[in-house]
């Protein structure tokens, strides 16, 4: 019999904790010897997760992680007690169905994410709050030694995004931005076609970003805060404003204090693929200009129609318009390829491009086992995710730059290395979002 030299992840924890004051849990690889029957990790070896924000997309992510055998969902947090109760019920019945006893009650609920992050047994957190919380929670998670899967856009301002990247780098954390379109095989293949010159020299990227039926709405009345909803905590770092129902939950994305409208919402998916195909994950454009129709009245104030453009140092021009079909077209001097968002179907001209084989000696972008699974794999190997923090930050930055240029109504020159506008200190003042105390980045 061979004795394994591999130390289990939990044993690592135990050894480390013995000499550590207030040590956070330390995610680590799961060696084969720790696997239980059928390759399913033993309970003590699973990545213990918590979720911050379990409404729409948060619930979807929660299920995605819960269904991975190597994770265990131990805690949830939401400022809406109804969301929290629903989600906890779902987690507990999920584990109850798999428990010999038929019951389970080990998923704790929190109103305040700081309590969840303070738990030593949590290895990684999923963050699906409204956008204005992304930066604050991510940075706190990094400081608490947690790895994180954070919904897109990575942050609500350029400065927040840079602070997230710095904190993640500083504490050597793993972060996956929730730009799951990156994990589609078709999208990665299309980007490989572009990166390997199959469409010739790339010169233009067209981003189609239709807004569907989400138009402006009327001014809304002040309303009493519903029972079980911690409105002050929902507002968090955002400026104080009176409660009205359509400020919160799904609608927040059309109010500039909390998000950037369609531009940062699905724009963060499409521009993300544009960045991947252009090979500019680590940088950004050198100028931005655009026109946006921002409602002059009513509650919503994000752009409802828009056209904005970027130029890159590599000579590529990107233009984004509010039109369908939703997706990104890479145009080169020998053809084009179009990626449809939310489905990943491809179109190309010539059509034969889509039968091209990427050879072993060409640029290969790898394939994802799924966006959630990819994150867990990186947590185990301390590796790099499909949507790493720098890429997530650069994509979100482009969305923010577009909104700033459209709001100011003038073309802006951008220094992607130092992340500030050139000769425009006033525009620079819009690079950070408001931080209402006690929150900060």
């Amino acid at each position: 019999m061979r004795t394994s030299a591999v130390v289990s992840r939990r044993e690592f924890l135990r050894r480390t904790a013995a000499t550590t004051v207030g040590a956070a849990a330390f995610p680590y690889i799961i060696p084969a010897s720790a696997l239980g029957r059928d390759g399913v990790p033993a309970p003590s070896e699973r990545i213990v997760m918590g979720c911050v924000g379990v409404g729409g997309q948060g619930r979807h992510n929660m299920r995605g992680f819960m269904n991975l055998p190597e994770t265990h969902m131990a805690a949830l947090c939401d400022v809406d007690a109804a969301h929290l109760a629903d989600a906890r019920g779902e987690v507990e019945s999920f584990y109850a169905d798999r428990a010999a006893s038929g019951s389970y009650s080990g998923c704790d609920g929190y109103n305040d994410f700081r309590e969840l992050l303070a738990r030593d047994d949590i290895d990684a957190v999923m963050i699906a709050t409204p956008d204005h919380w992304h930066g604050v929670v991510s940075i706190a998670a990094a400081k608490a030694g947690k790895d994180m899967y954070c919904e897109k856009p990575l942050a609500n301002s350029v400065a927040e995004g840079r602070a997230v990247v710095n904190a993640v780098k500083r504490y050597r954390r793993v972060l996956q931005t929730g730009s799951h379109e990156r994990s589609r095989d078709n999208a990665r293949y299309a980007c490989e076609l572009v990166r390997n010159g199959r469409i010739g020299k790339l010169h233009t990227i067209e981003v189609n970003l239709p807004i569907d039926n989400h138009g402006p709405i009327d001014n809304q009345p002040v309303m009493p805060v519903p029972e079980g909803f911690d409105y002050d905590l929902w507002l968090g770092p955002a400026p104080w404003e009176p409660y009205t129902e359509k400020r919160c939950h799904f609608h927040f994305r059309y109010i500039l204090d909390y998000s950037g409208g369609e531009v940062t919402d699905r724009g963060a998916h499409i521009i993300d693929l544009a960045q991947l195909g252009n090979g500019t994950d680590h940088t950004g454009p050198i100028d931005v200009s655009g026109w946006g129709d921002f409602p002059k009245d009513g509650l919503f104030n994000t752009a409802m129609n828009y056209k904005f453009e970027f130029n890159y140092a590599n000579g590529v021009h990107m233009v984004c318009e509010c039109k369908g079909p939703r997706g990104v077209r890479f145009i080169g001097d020998k053809g084009w390829v179009f990626i449809h968002i939310h489905g990943g179907n491809l179109e190309a001209d010539p059509e034969s491009l889509l039968r091209e084989v990427i050879g072993p000696d060409e640029i290969r972008l790898g394939r994802s086992p799924g966006h959630h699974k990819d994150f867990i794999n990186a947590v185990k190997t301390r590796g790099v995710t499909m949507a790493p923090p720098e890429a997530g930050h650069r994509t979100a930055s482009m969305c923010h730059l577009a909104n700033i240029a459209m709001r100011l109504g003038r073309p802006l020159r951008w220094d992607p290395d130092h992340e500030h506008f050139i000769d425009d200190p006033e525009a620079d003042r819009m690079l950070c979002a408001s931080m209402r105390a006690p929150w900060h980045i």
């Binding site: 050597r172 001014n219 400026p239 006033e426």
Partner: protein, 836 residues
């Protein structure tokens, strides 16, 4: 020039006496949330337009500040703070400072001051620190930290000392760290040395921030000293990881040594941090020392290091990999996954070994990695193994050459396919499917005709078909096979060629197979029928029906029947009525229970009124009752809107049946049917239609009623949206974007007269009544029932109502009903999908 025009506009706006700006500022003073914010938008636009005009900006800043100082609502003050956050200078500081202690405006005021570049703004923030409100104090502390104003260090220190265990104290530590300087360092060090557990983690974070600041400023010695403290085993793992990263950045020339030491320390947090940091070493960093240590690490270290080295594509000698492959499975897998990035052609043999002899995940990973190994030399190495005597390894190498698309190996693989015994022969044929070129097709056909290795026959036929598919000219694809068929009399070869024609599936291949039907013996006829029954499109459906009607034997009849049913089912876009006769014939031909069940299942996809009679005719056998009920339910789901009177009693019967699932579904449909609210549910649909290069809005202008001969009108399934069963949900029924679909119904009016069409569509719509355009709206919108109201005049008898519904993206739907001109219900109308 553009800027000058904008400035002129702003100046003129400000100059208008009494301007709309006066009115806007007046409205601003009393603005509260929920009121119109048009005045605020006007001010915002003026502020933006004044960019570049210092005088105009100064006037606006003062006016905004005066709005606060002269008294305004909280909501107005909040708006002003937002404006001043972007344009404010020294002039607006007093107004903003007056709000620092305000209960709900403190955050907005501090935010505006934080971004204000004037020294006065910093003074105001420092002065505000004497507030008694801890939340305000926190905001001020963070703002001072963000501004990096060295004058704030001592006041922040005082804040800390005033209550050193409080959140304000923790924030003050971070703030002084961000500002930098010896005062801050002393304070943080003091906290770390003297305890204070409430703020210790904040002090650690602040110390790291402070050190990172020193590093950026070039004080590596000072930074190192801090990292040296924080790397101590007593600190948390992620803090030690941060400290290790800091050390590496302090002394990049020693980075490799430090990371090696971390790996060898057996200290898990440092090992994991080192694995991550290897990825960040400079591109030209020497990674050889890491590679050398691979074999001496424990398994956990090996796993981390292998992943990191693979990320850096660091070359690893095949001998090192070979040693590591003796380890446990997790290490084996890590080695295999690292090989494409770190290995060279010498790894190919190792991987082939694992692929040929390994099991489970190891075998799968080895195969995957063999496909991904870069370098043309890998193909040469694989070819060498393929030619060897070790049959399992040779077969594996041949298989991989195919997966790698090694077209340069086509000729050697053809030789192996000719001469080698199985399994190498089979694998060679399989590989040729991927690597043979179009011009190789005749050679492959010739090889297929003389093939001796029976086990390879299936792969050989598929290789011939796949190679033929690469011939650009469709009409030439089957030529070589047809020529060979005309020349060979060998029965096995003819069978292979016939099967290959079935897989090539071009029109001339179909002609050749039809001809063969009349010439071949019974065994080869069976091959032809198989090929026709597997045809990828419905072209041979009627051939199969004729075979089923006049078979040579019962097996042939059964196969033809099965194939015909499959092909007819695939014609879902064709109107059900056009398929009905074929299905009647198939129903008559079905003999045993299995065949009848197959036909019944297909009838469920035939949404026509007459389908119910066919189902009834087949369902006389009690053994078929369940299939018949399911088929009837599936038809009812689509046609209930068109024929509610016929469907209702059938659903009543199903709802009273024994099968739980059917019962529930039938009852759900019955519950749905009364909820149509007088809307038209008898629709036929045609489309979707799209035009290359056009979006829905540009498609709109040219959209005309479709030609009946080509429209392919079929019954529109209703109730797809259970909450609104009267909505024709085109998105779910058809799918598509930037396109149009047509909905048509016939309306019987007892007498001529006016009527009101109440219409809702998502997105745009055109409406024709009896061929005349009566309504057109090119719009993107959500569906609102009755949003459009169109006055029309109905003829006595049957009228034709036609809608073109356009799809921009997202949801796609329509609903319509007819009312009296005043909106009251209109009695006496009947609607139908076909005029009676």
């Amino acid at each position: 020039m553009k800027c000058l025009i904008i400035c002129a506009l702003a100046t003129s706006l400000l100059a208008q006496p009494p301007s709309s700006m006066d009115a806007a500022f007046d409205a601003l003073k009393t603005y509260t949330f929920g009121q119109s914010r048009e005045a605020l938008s006007e001010i915002d636009a003026t502020v933006q337009a004044a960019y570049g005009d210092a005088d105009a900006r100064a006037q606006l800043e003062q006016r905004l500040a005066d709005t606060i100082l002269s008294g305004c609502t909280d909501d107005a003050a909040r708006f002003v703070c937002r404006q001043l956050a972007v344009i404010g200078g020294e002039a607006s500081v007093p107004a903003l400072a007056s709000l620092i202690d305000h209960e709900t405006l403190t955050g907005a005021a501090i935010d505006a001051l934080e971004r204000n570049p004037s020294e006065a703004a910093g003074d105001a923030l420092i002065a505000g620190l004497y507030t008694q409100n801890p939340r305000t104090k926190l905001g001020l502390v963070h703002a001072l930290g963000a501004r990096g104003d060295a004058r704030a260090v001592d006041p922040l220190r005082q804040c800390f000392l005033a209550d050193p265990r409080s959140p304000v104290a923790a924030a003050a530590l971070l703030a002084v760290a961000r500002i930098g300087g010896p005062g801050g360092r002393t304070l943080i060090k003091h906290v770390l040395t003297d305890g204070l557990p409430e703020v210790r983690s904040a002090a650690v974070d602040a110390y790291l921030v402070f050190a990172d600041g020193l590093l950026v400023a070039g004080d590596t010695q000072g930074a190192w000293a801090i990292y040296d403290v924080l790397i101590a085993p007593a600190e948390a793992g992620h803090v030690r990881a941060a400290a290790l990263r800091g050390r590496v950045r302090c002394a990049p020339e020693d980075a490799s040594g430090m990371l090696l030491d971390a790996f060898e320390s057996g200290d898990p947090p440092l090992q994991a941090a080192a694995a991550g940091l290897i990825r960040e070493l400079p591109e030209d960093a020497n990674l050889r020392p890491f590679v050398k240590r691979l074999t001496s690490l424990d398994a956990a270290g090996q796993l981390l290091l292998l992943d990191a080295l693979a990320n850096r594509r660091a070359p690893v000698d095949a001998a090192v990999f070979e040693t590591l492959l003796a380890g446990e499975e997790a290490v084996q897998l890590a080695v295999i996954r690292a090989m494409p990035a770190c290995g060279d052609e010498r790894c190919a043999a190792l991987l082939v070994d694992q692929a040929a002899t390994g099991k489970g995940e190891v075998k799968r990973a080895a195969r995957e990695c063999l496909s991904a190994m870069p370098g043309t030399k890998v193909n040469a190495e694989l070819l060498s193994i393929a030619r060897g005597d070790d049959v399992p390894r040779a077969a594996e190498a041949v298989r991989v050459l195919g997966e790698r698309g090694a077209t340069e190996a086509a000729e050697p693989l053809m030789r192996l396919a000719k001469r080698a015994a199985d399994p190498v022969c089979s694998e060679a044929w399989r590989a040729l499917r991927n690597v043979a070129k179009a011009e190789d097709a005749p050679k492959l056909v010739a090889m297929l005709v003389t093939l001796k290795e029976e086990a390879a026959r299936g792969n050989a036929e598929r290789a011939v078909a796949a190679t033929a598919a690469r011939i650009a000219d469709t009409e030439r694809r089957a030529a070589a096979v047809i020529d060979a068929l005309n020349e060979t009399s060998d029965e096995a070869a003819r069978a292979s060629l016939l099967r290959a024609l079935g897989a090539i599936a071009t029109p001339d291949a179909l002609v050749a197979l039809r001809n063969a039907l009349n010439r071949e013996n019974e065994a080869l006829r069976a091959v032809v029928v198989d090929a026709l029954a597997s045809w990828p499109d419905p072209a041979p459906a009627q051939d199969l029906l004729r075979i089923a009607e006049n078979p040579s034997n019962d097996a042939e009849r059964a196969k033809a029947l099965e194939g015909c049913v499959r092909l007819m089912r695939s014609l879902k876009d064709k109107p059900a009525e056009a398929r009905l006769d074929t299905f009647k014939a198939l129903a008559a031909l079905a003999r045993d229970e299995a065949e009848k069940k197959r036909v019944l299942a297909a009838l469920g996809d035939l949404p026509a009124l007459a389908t119910f009679d066919l189902i009834d005719a087949l369902a006389t056998d009690p053994a078929l009752e369940a299939e018949a009920a399911l088929a009837a339910l599936n038809v009812a789901k689509v046609v209930w809107g068109a024929y509610p009177e016929v469907v209702n009693p059938r659903l009543e019967t199903l709802a009273g049946g024994l099968d739980d699932n059917l019962r529930i579904e039938a009852q759900a449909l019955l519950d749905l049917m009364p909820r149509t609210e007088d809307y038209i549910t008898a629709w036929r649909v045609s489309g979707p239609l799209a035009v290359e290069g056009k979006v829905a809005t540009t498609l709109f202008d040219g959209a005309e009623p479709p030609d009946d001969a080509t429209a392919g009108w079929r019954i529109m399934p209703m109730g797809l949206d259970r909450n609104a069963p009267f909505v024709a949900d085109l998105g779910r029924a058809l799918g598509g974007a930037e396109c149009v679909a047509f909905l048509r119904t016939f309306i019987h009016a007892p007498a001529a007269g006016p009527a009101l069409l109440e219409l809702g569509t998502n997105d745009g719509v055109k409406v024709w009544l009896n061929g005349a355009l009566v309504h057109a709206l090119n719009v993107g919108r959500a569906l609102t029932p009755g949003e459009d109201k169109v006055q029309m005049h109905l003829d006595a008898g049957w009228n034709t109502l036609l809608l073109a519904v356009f799809q921009h993206g997202g949801d796609w739907a329509a609903c319509a009903r007819l009312r009296a001109p005043d909106g009251a219900p209109l009695a006496g109308l009947r609607t139908a999908v076909t005029p009676e």
